[in-house]
Amino acid sequence: MDVTLDAPSGAAALKLRSQMLFLNQPRQDPENLVLSAFAWNYRYLHETNHWARYHGSSAGVLLTLLRRSRDALASYFLETLESQERRRLLEQRQSGQLFGQPSGVGSLSGPNGARLEQDWLALYFTHQALMGGVDPPRAGGIAVDWAINRALHLTWFNSEGKGMLKHPDGLEPHLTAAPTSAPSPADVEIGRLNTRLLFECAAVLDETYMHTLGSVREVVDPALWNMTAHTIEGDYGLAYRIAERLAGRDVGAGCMLALIDFALNPVVPGLHRGVAAVTWDELQPVRRFAIAARSLADHSPDLEHAHPTSELLGAFHADTETATGLRVGRVDSELSSATSLQGAARQPVHFTEIIPNMTLTYARKLHEERRATPCSITFFGLNFVNEGALRFVRPETWWIGGNWWLFPPLQVSAGQYHWPAERISQDDATNLFLGTALSSALDDIVHGTGPLTKSHLPEAVLHDTAERKAINQELQEFTGLPLAW
């Protein structure tokens, strides 16, 4: 059931599928204005935190490029189908056949279709495995190592000069078969931890800066502190509890944020110059996190006892690299040739590239920020206390003075689609909407069986008869299939 459309959820969320921030405006007539304003700000900070950490990390950029390759491949697959095969695709969807199943939709267009199907599955699986936990999910009948190597190859091959470095001859990206040192789910209660929960833990920890530092703590309602405390006690604090168990001692919040940042920034072939071979321990964020947390049993970084600075973070990275043998990744490639949202929205590209162009333009700025001030993304919450908090006062206009890249540009409020009208035209906004709607439908089309999902899109647009008709027409031209929202 599509819960969000039928009943708008009470939760704020950054939907990775559409790259849209779902956040309703603060209450019109609050019982307590200060409480309402701060509660809204906390949500905005929390979701912005995800945006900056995701696009500002090497793992996030790899995930964006894996998704772009997957969508391009799905779109190409649909283009290659003859009209008879299109009909069979629809029939197979209706009968519940997925990619990767015997006589699934891929095999309907012969050996070429079957090869595209395997490649799509490799890209899909690797994305899931990077967002997952210490143990990779089941690869649907294909060998795990093959799938990851194939996905790394396809992504680099497709992204060469378009987000990734030039692909040198004889330097094929691959996993090396180093013996694993990450704890297995049997070692500790680590089976439930996944990459999403690393992001959530960091975002909740950053809220605590609001509570404990700066002038805000004087006026903040204790109810908000109670809510944050409750959230840390739940799944959002799981990473913290696991890290302390692995380290065998209490770990400071600053150190925990540095651990998460370390986990989210692996060396990635195609992004990090001179690297083609990695181990799965080195690439997968939760495995990195667990190995680095365990190394804290033997040393106590200065970062734990002092206000975080870029120097202390640099020392933490160096110590952790020595202790674990895992490297800290960086992005050496040019992620985008655009330097603004408008520039990204106006690049003439395929529908599957519109949103990656947008997010890579933001990622480019975020990685510049990371290079200039390493602390600013690792300890993101510190940007919002004391003088830095000024950029929080009017986030919708703060970009005029800079820092627009810290905030997700496309928003959904009360089901309505919003975009920064000062920076892009309505045509640009429509282009971005079509990019996100059409590319996010591809997973449903090739790997789903039911109606197209829509909880990641603004419901008002799809409820408007004229707009829905126009969007469905674009979808049908794009896919060549009589599908509609």
């Binding site: 819960v3 039928d6 009943a7 009470g10 599928r17 307590n32 929390h46 739940g234």
Partner: protein, 111 residues
Amino acid sequence: MSNELVLRGEESNVLLLAKEIASHPELADVCRVRIATTDEATDDSFGYGPVVEIIITLSSGVATNAAYDLLRRLISRARDRGDLTDRQDKAVRQGKNDAAGVKAQDEKEQQ
């Protein structure tokens, strides 16, 4: 006959509301609170927190006494802390659910 109010929101906010209701003995006699989990969390979405539902069952006649005002204030304060949406299930849209009636009354009182 009883009235049921179903609100959906972030777990931390909803549980705090439940705790606040429980801390008022005058509400204990007239309303019952239940929490239900939802299946909204997905791996491709970063949320502010898990989403749950609170089901508040009111005894009949509550709307006219002070306990109702207190409950309404607690809910209003919870709405300040974060969005609480009334569950729009089929029954509500068809006007068959008591929760819809409670909500209409709530809005009327605020005017």
